[in-house]
Symmetry: C2
Subunit: 207 residues, 2 copies
């Protein structure tokens, strides 16, 4: 299996596995079995083993997976072994929440630059970073930032994305509820939290 194409669904699950490992490493067991990990995450053991097998198994039969080694492997596959510097554009309610969200750090992300167009906010310092004028966004080139997070209103999202691509951003996490199209070289993931809420009633009994 070692030389097969990796299913997209597998890649989608890897961060979940990583989360499970990072958060349950307090138990500081040296090894963890697929059954145990599956139980923690609420998925199937064979799903986990299958997923890992695509990358060439790193477990030992009869024992399980070495937690530390497995963690490193997944991080390497996801390219999280090198740290990533991100920029956040738009410090509204959502942007501020993202900035304060502790979850990014455990994956090695660092929000190193923040932009907004509100003159009252520009210059303010939040945590370690100072909010800069969005007009200066094009000057981001050379600051070693490879990720962009868009948290601006719908109407401006595409425009911001274009600038981000221009300054060499390779990946965009978009929180605006709209499509963004950019060069195929740049990966865009859009999160629309309202859309997820919108399908919830479908699964609920009609009461």
């Amino acid at each position: 299996m070692r030389y097969h194409k990796i299913p997209d669904e597998t890649v989608r699950r890897l961060p979940l596995y990583l989360r499970g490992l990072l958060f349950s490493s307090q138990d500081l067991q040296e090894n963890i079995s697929s059954r145990k990990l599956a139980e923690v995450l609420g998925v199937n053991p064979w799903q986990i083993r299958k997923d890992f097998s695509y990358f060439g198994g790193f477990g030992t039969p009869g024992v399980g997976y070495n937690v530390e080694k497995l963690t490193k492997q997944i991080k390497k596959i996801l390219k999280l072994d090198i740290g990533h510097r991100a920029t956040l554009v738009g410090v509204g309610n959502l942007g501020a929440a993202i900035l304060a969200y502790p979850g990014f750090k455990i994956y090695g992300f660092d929000i190193a630059a923040v932009f907004d167009n509100n003159s009252k906010k520009i210059g303010q310092k939040i945590g370690d970073v100072t909010i800069e004028d969005v007009a200066k966004l094009p000057m981001l080139k050379g600051r070693q930032i490879d990720l962009g997070i868009i948290a601006v209103p719908r109407g401006s999202a595409q425009e911001i994305a274009n600038i981000l691509v221009d300054v060499g951003i390779k990946g965009i996490l978009n929180f605006s509820p709209c499509r963004i199209d950019v060069s195929k070289k740049v990966k865009v993931i859009t999160i629309d939290i309202a859309m997820d809420l919108a399908r919830l009633p479908y699964y609920m009994p009609s009461s």
Copy 2:
């Protein structure tokens, strides 16, 4: 096709179609073709037609779909035709952002009750709602709320979920990065924004 089981993936896409319709209705064209809608959303026309066909086509050949009728149909399928009242638990950075997020209203959601455990926040009014003591959460029964949004730290999420289920909540949108298990009668959708960010580098060129 009318009597087939509806694929989960189709249900996942319906809110997207609805979003496209709601946001492009400014053009106030009476009808929209699958090709046009697909273009706006960045998906395939035949995918859209196939999805709609599961519910028994509501378009007319040669013309397209009547925007107003289609919108109503999708809302009905997703059970968004009746409004939903939601409660938000946890008014930290993320909770506050959710509360201020305008995207919920267009789907007919109303955040009608808000809870927190921070005594400084309790009693504060944000928009139309007043933050209540989370200790009073069990008294939510009878207030006609059927959705719960969890935005509390990891450790408390399961506990809050249990209470929500007790008071009769039928669906939960969980923003805590952990698994929540509840009665099978209750649908849980978990959003972990850090997890989505975590798979972004995988798709990026190694630079």
